[in-house]
């Protein structure tokens, strides 16, 4: 059974499990490095890449300022094109809309293209409970469905799986012969999936963009399975977070040039589909096209003037690849669907601060994410903002090994730092106190939090015999 709910509170345990697993460390390091390098090389080849990023940011800003108008325009255009729009405030609402449509489609199966939003609303579980089988057709998602796991990465969901892992899963679930050749593994999956495409009454996709002025749903991919899902079954349903909207079709070029390069280093992905309404007479395609527009915490994020910027995200995954913390703890440590720096931002926003209070702290705030973000989201700054929200709104548990709460400790610290004489006194007392601990200028072990956490894996330099203040007084006031 695959996991559900938000487990972001377990980030420390899960992160350390990944950290101590050499196999996972190898998988994450090599894959993120490859994607990171690909992005860098691809973006360097585009003159004016910086201007593209600025333009995309401006467009996203424009969208967020007028989200209601653009969404209304989009909905009108979808209807005009012969499609249907459904509004879902919550995950549950989105799931029941989709279940109804699946029942109407008549099939017992739904084929799915890769969609993070469907992971977000835990659609597969809901379909399963309604007696409908969801079949993931993206190779990575197909692997994860067999493994009963969540995506470990926004664009490369099975980033943590090696060829051998995949082979083992296929042998156990599809009774195939063991093989470590990617081509043969792909053929095994392809064979299993072909049948499903033909049987399914409904195809479900996400959307990379939806276009207000034309009512178009844009999906990009490399495998062709999304095009299959959105054209072969009788009904196509696109499940979309409301922040995915862009104003005009003429703006799409800006985003397409950024998305492929930022995600995988591709100029364009192998397939780019622009879906504008169901099939017309004499054409191929689905009889019905539905778009489910999902809020699920996005409007609340929009209402927060500072955090609004997190909705600019186009889900390219570049920030994950650049993040030294993600590379170490891996995607599952974040405990929900979205991982890495952007996951640390939007998980608390979408699922509530209390269950995800540790996430904004899971960053050294180095800013490597901001350097690669195609829409220049100031991720470290937003993480700092969230940290402050977390401390104000959710009660902090006392850290293990600590005598006082973090807030109490910080208050005391600030009280001292505002009083230079007390600071000087504390500085002298600490020098007396450390005599018990220090050996040749180093401290190997401290039992009190937070220094106990420091000395778990590092030594702590002892305080210098005299502070700079003391040195200055001795050497400078004599002159």
């Amino acid at each position: 059974m695959s996991e559900t709910g938000v487990q972001s509170g377990e980030i420390h345990e899960r992160g350390n499990t990944a950290l101590n697993n050499a196999h996972l460390q190898d998988a994450y390091r090599s894959s993120t490095l490859r994607l990171y390098t690909n992005r860098r090389d691809a973006s360097n080849l585009v003159p004016g890449f910086e201007r593209l990023r600025d333009r995309a940011r401006e467009l996203k800003h424009e969208v967020m300022e007028h989200l209601d108008e653009y969404l209304a325009q989009f909905a009108d255009n979808v209807e005009r094109n012969g499609g249907h729009v459904h509004w879902a405030r919550t995950s549950e609402q989105a799931c029941s809309i989709i279940i109804e449509l699946a029942k109407k489609a008549g099939g017992r199966e739904v084929v799915k293209g890769k969609t993070m939003v469907s992971e977000e609303i835990e659609l597969n579980h809901a379909l399963d409970a309604a007696g409908i089988r969801a079949v993931e057709t993206d190779l990575g998602e197909f692997i994860l469905q067999l493994a009963g796991e969540r995506p470990a990465h926004i664009v490369a969901p099975a980033i943590h799986k090696t060829r051998q892992d995949v082979s083992d899963l296929f042998v156990a679930n599809l009774h195939s012969q063991p093989t470590a050749e990617p081509e043969r593994l792909t053929m095994i999956a392809r064979k299993a999936l072909r049948e499903m495409f033909q049987k399914a009454g409904m195809g479900l996709s996400g959307a990379n963009f939806i276009v207000a002025d034309t009512g178009t749903v844009v999906v990009i991919e490399n495998e062709g399975n999304i095009r299959f899902c959105t054209t072969a079954p009788r009904i196509h349903v696109a499940l979309v977070g409301i922040e995915k909207i862009i104003p005009r079709l003429t703006d799409l070029g800006v985003f397409l040039r950024l998305l492929g390069r930022s995600g995988t280093g591709q100029k364009l992905t192998s397939y780019t589909s622009l879906l504008t309404g169901p099939r017309r007479a004499g054409e191929d395609g689905p009889d019905e096209m539905h778009v489910v527009l999902l809020d699920n915490g996005r409007i609340a994020t929009l209402a927060d003037e500072k955090m609004r910027e997190a909705l600019f995200c186009i889900r390219c995954g570049a920030c994950l690849n650049a993040c030294p913390v993600y590379r170490k703890i891996g995607g599952h440590a974040y405990g929900w669907v979205y991982s890495g720096p952007i996951g640390a931002l939007i998980t608390p926003q979408f699922t509530g601060l209390s269950g995800a209070r540790e996430l904004p702290f899971a960053s050294s705030l180095c800013g490597a994410c901001r350097d690669v973000c195609p829409v220049k989201i100031n991720i470290p700054d937003l993480l700092l903002h969230l940290r402050s929200n977390v401390q104000e709104q959710t009660p902090a548990p006392k850290p293990p090994g600590s005598l006082v709460k973090e807030r109490t400790a910080m208050r005391a610290w600030a009280w001292v730092m505002k009083r230079p004489r007390i600071y000087a006194l504390a500085s002298s007392l600490a020098r007396l106190g450390q005599r018990l601990y220090a050996r040749q200028g180093w401290i190997r072990h401290v039992s009190a939090f937070p220094l106990s956490r420091w000395t778990e894996g590092r030594d702590l330099p002892a305080l210098a015999p005299e502070s700079f203040h003391t040195w200055w007084r001795k050497h400078e006031t004599e002159k």
């Binding site: 702290f361 700092l384 610290w413 730092m417 600490a430 956490r453 210098a464 700079f468 040195w471």
Partner: protein, 245 residues
């Protein structure tokens, strides 16, 4: 050398004051060698970053207000830290966004507050400070210095002008070392693992000494080096520039 005698207040930072006073002594020595009149305000404590970094903005504001009051009249303030300089220049204005008077002070101090290497290269317009040190060193870009302040070439120019020195670049030299303020104690295992990567890169580059401009990174890296007995040393840029060997 500077034409006019500049007067600058030295901001040692709390970590520097408590753990690395030698960094301060060296910075003062180098600045004086360049003709700067260095002062030190003994009411100085901390810039407030530990509280800000942990999400306690009220507490950070209290300490920041103390700093703003302290340096109201200083011509220049110089800190041997990219991180503390970032706190003052980037985050003070954010902290006081809703307090017009403090915001004005913060924006005003922002113009006069410099990181050590930046001050020497940009304000004094000096690259050769007269140091000599015949060793192989690598330079670690600390994150705030690099990404918030955009200071990348200044330290390298200063190191490059040191007589006898060999500056080698390590792979991924812009990758975080894992310190990250309170991150170092909230996620200690990850923090140390990141340091291990950094130190491995420094060794592979053939460096004997890793140089940086932030006491936080250096304390963290030195702590891992000492725990694991690695054949590598750390050094603050100010210490390096004071060398005349």
């Amino acid at each position: 050398m500077a034409q006019q005698k500049l007067r600058a207040a030295f901001f040692i930072t709390c970590l520097g004051d408590q753990f690395f006073p030698r960094v301060g002594e060296c910075a003062v020595k180098v600045l004086r060698r360049l003709g700067v009149e260095v002062t030190f305000d003994t009411a100085q404590t901390c810039c407030g970053q530990p509280a800000f970094n942990t999400g306690f903005r009220d507490e950070a504001r209290e300490v920041a207000a103390h700093v703003l009051d302290q340096y109201r009249d200083a011509e220049y303030v110089i800190a041997p830290s990219g991180s503390c300089t970032t706190m003052v220049r980037v985050f003070y204005p954010e902290l006081f966004a809703d307090d017009p008077e403090r915001l004005r002070q913060a924006l005003e101090l922002k113009k006069r507050f410099f990181e050590f290497s930046e001050f020497i290269v940009k304000v004094l317009k000096v690259e050769d400070v007269g140091a000599s040190f015949p060793r192989r060193v690598t330079y670690h870009d600390s994150c705030h210095l690099l990404r918030e302040l955009g200071i990348e070439q200044e330290p390298r120019k200063l190191i490059g002008a040191v007589r006898g020195i060999k500056l080698v670049e390590m792979q991924d030299n812009q990758l975080c070392c894992g310190f990250g303020g309170t991150f170092s104690v909230k996620f200690p295992e990850v923090s140390v693992a990141m340091a291990e990567d950094k130190l491995r890169a420094a060794s592979l580059a053939g460096a004997e000494i890793l140089v940086a401009n932030d006491s936080g990174c250096l304390m963290h890296l030195a702590g891992v080096i000492h725990r694991q007995g690695l054949p590598l040393q750390t050094m603050h840029l100010a210490e390096l520039l004071a060398k005349q060997e």
